[in-house]
């Protein structure tokens, strides 16, 4: 069995994992914490398919996060810079507000999807392949496409129905 290049996996997967988690916990710092936690567990377990394993654990962590407030300190400053926060504040208060509104609209649109649709959509958006998604969610590969098609349509519809936010208009 080939050895896992953890450095490479970590560098390439961490951003995807944060992206995936962020749409679940809606807190960038928390998403980063959870992504780190998932990686720590992966290091301990050395799973055969680490990328899929990481997303599975991340999904579970996010689910737990919703259930219970985990009391723990932040053990590590994950990021040297918070680009999202920086870029938002650089645009001034109006840009901040705009960003928050858009953020809320996306969140609302996502929350209108069924759990499965949302999960498939977010996994795909985080770079998981159809096969990986199918395995993680115990569905046929063909069903991933069907679910994605439905999820995307509903997301766009839900987002546009929020009045001011029309992705077609930008």
């Amino acid at each position: 069995m080939s050895r896992i290049d953890w450095n490479d996996l970590y560098r390439t997967t961490f951003p995807d994992l944060v992206r995936f988690l962020h749409r679940k916990v809606w807190d960038v710092e928390r998403a980063r914490d959870l992504a780190q936690e998932a990686f720590v567990r992966a290091l301990e377990h050395n799973p055969k398919k680490p990328r899929a394993w990481l997303f599975q654990v991340a999904a579970n962590l996010a689910r737990d996060e919703a259930r219970t407030a985990i009391r723990r300190k932040k053990h590590l400053v994950l990021l040297k810079s918070d680009r999202e926060a920086t870029s938002a504040s650089q645009g001034g208060p109006e840009a901040d507000l705009d960003s928050k509104e858009r953020h809320g609209a996306v969140r609302n649109a996502l929350s209108s999807l069924s759990e499965k649709d949302r999960e498939v959509l977010l996994l795909w958006d985080a770079g998981q392949s159809y096969s990986e998604i199918a395995k993680q969610l115990d569905m046929a590969v063909g069903a991933v496409g069907t679910t994605l098609a439905r999820a995307r349509k509903r997301l766009v519809t839900a987002y546009n129905q929020q009045g001011e936010h029309d992705v077609a208009r930008g």
Binding site: R32, V57, T68, R72, G145, A149, L155
Partner: protein, 382 residues
């Protein structure tokens, strides 16, 4: 040639057709080359896909990873397992932030009466408090009311003041088997599935606390009818995993009696219970090995359930899917059971049926009656 469905269109746009069966991927590509209607739908799907991507990108953080050395350092600092807590040392409480994990499986064997009895395999149990792995048990009937955690698993041990061997925080994964004769009862108590089993000198009361709506299939399988039971259980558990995944592959005792019965176990259910991983898979079922799979050739059984909600076994419904395409339902009723027990037929479905010696066989699906008849013939040739 039938049109390409939306799922395949999106798979095409996502570059995921390679992950489809080769023949299906080829069919999609060839069809898109010649079908103007599907080409238009493809463009529409492309716009939806692009819009969805744009929406998601509006809430996409950019995250750099800390160095792997920092991560390893973090792992070393945060992975200290506290000493084990004596059995009666503490009480479980709502405030304790306790999460339990257990794996449970059932093993089937025919008993003297020809019915099936179960055996339970228990995985270790992990309890974490405030994020730290530790173990607590408080004796018989002590209960962690896991409602605040949603689906969770509860284990009660009547080990008479001794630590229970099943509860072993040191084991990160593994399985413990309870003799097949050990299961004394399996029943549903309100929102819980309760399995009672004996293990050595101890009596296990294993209460799987989980909303039943999460496990729609297990309840009739293991609780109401006890006519469909898994043939073997393997529990795999990992204390650092968050959820228990329980896959139940089961056989229907009723179907086994049929000349063309289920051969292999059918994946009946997979659901989350708590932490860890539970998988119930078939044992070496040479008994049924040679029997044909009770699915229409080309279709995959995706779901099996019993007809009706009562305790009496009157038949089964299997949902079978033609990969990437539509699903059908095959309903087999026990001899003497009338058609009045059937669930209502959806508006988009057609139905064909035949009465055999073994009872009614009904096939439903979103196809014409003639097509369904053909499928029925494929299911029961001759």
């Amino acid at each position: 040639m039938s049109h390409v469905d939306d799922g395949a269109l999106h798979a095409y746009l996502d570059g995921a057709l390679e992950e489809y069966p080769i023949a299906e991927a080829r069919r999609v590509r060839e069809h898109l080359d010649v079908c103007a209607e599907c080409s238009e739908r493809l463009e529409s799907a492309r716009r939806v896909r692009s819009d969805a991507h744009a929406i998601l990108s509006m809430a996409a953080p950019i995250a750099d990873a800390p160095s792997i050395e920092e991560l390893k350092s973090y792992a070393e600092r945060t992975r200290k397992i506290p000493p084990r807590v004596p059995v009666h040392g503490r009480r479980l409480s709502w405030a304790a932030s306790v999460i339990l994990a257990i794996g449970v499986g059932w093993v089937m064997r025919p008993d003297d009466t020809g019915f099936v009895s179960e055996s339970v395999i228990l995985a270790p149990i992990a309890i974490t408090e405030s994020g730290n792995p530790m173990v607590e048990t408080d004796g018989l009937n002590e209960r962690n009311l896991g409602g605040v955690y949603g689906p969770s698993v509860l284990a009660d041990a009547s080990s008479q003041g001794q630590e229970h061997s099943v509860i072993d925080p040191a084991r990160e994964e593994g399985e413990v088997e309870i003799p097949r004769s050990g299961v004394t009862d399996v029943e549903r108590e309100r929102s819980r599935l309760v399995v009672r089993a004996e293990s050595g000198n101890a009596v296990e009361l294993i209460n799987i606390e989980t909303p039943m709506d999460l496990i729609p299939d297990i309840e009739p399988l293991l609780v109401a009818h006890r006519r469909i039971v898994p043939s073997r259980g393997i529990a795999q558990w990992d204390p650092l995993e968050t959820l228990v995944e329980l896959e139940v592959e089961a056989k229907s005792e009723g179907l086994m009696d049929r000349p063309r019965s289920v051969s292999g176990p059918t994946l009946v259910s997979q659901f989350s219970l708590g932490r860890g991983s539970v998988r119930v898979v078939p044992e070496d079922d040479g008994r049924f090995k040679d029997e044909p799979l009770q699915s229409v050739p080309g279709f995959e059984v995706t779901r099996t359930e019993n007809v009706g909600g009562g305790r009496k076994f009157i038949g089964t419904i299997t949902t079978q899917r033609l990969e990437g395409d539509y699903s059908i339902q095959v309903i087999l009723l026990e001899p003497g059971v009338g058609l009045d027990v059937l669930p209502s037929l959806g508006t988009s479905l057609n139905e064909v049926r035949v009465k055999a010696e073994t009872g009614w066989v009904i096939l439903r699906g979103p196809r014409s009656g003639q097509e369904l008849e053909t499928l029925l013939m494929r299911l029961f040739p001759g």
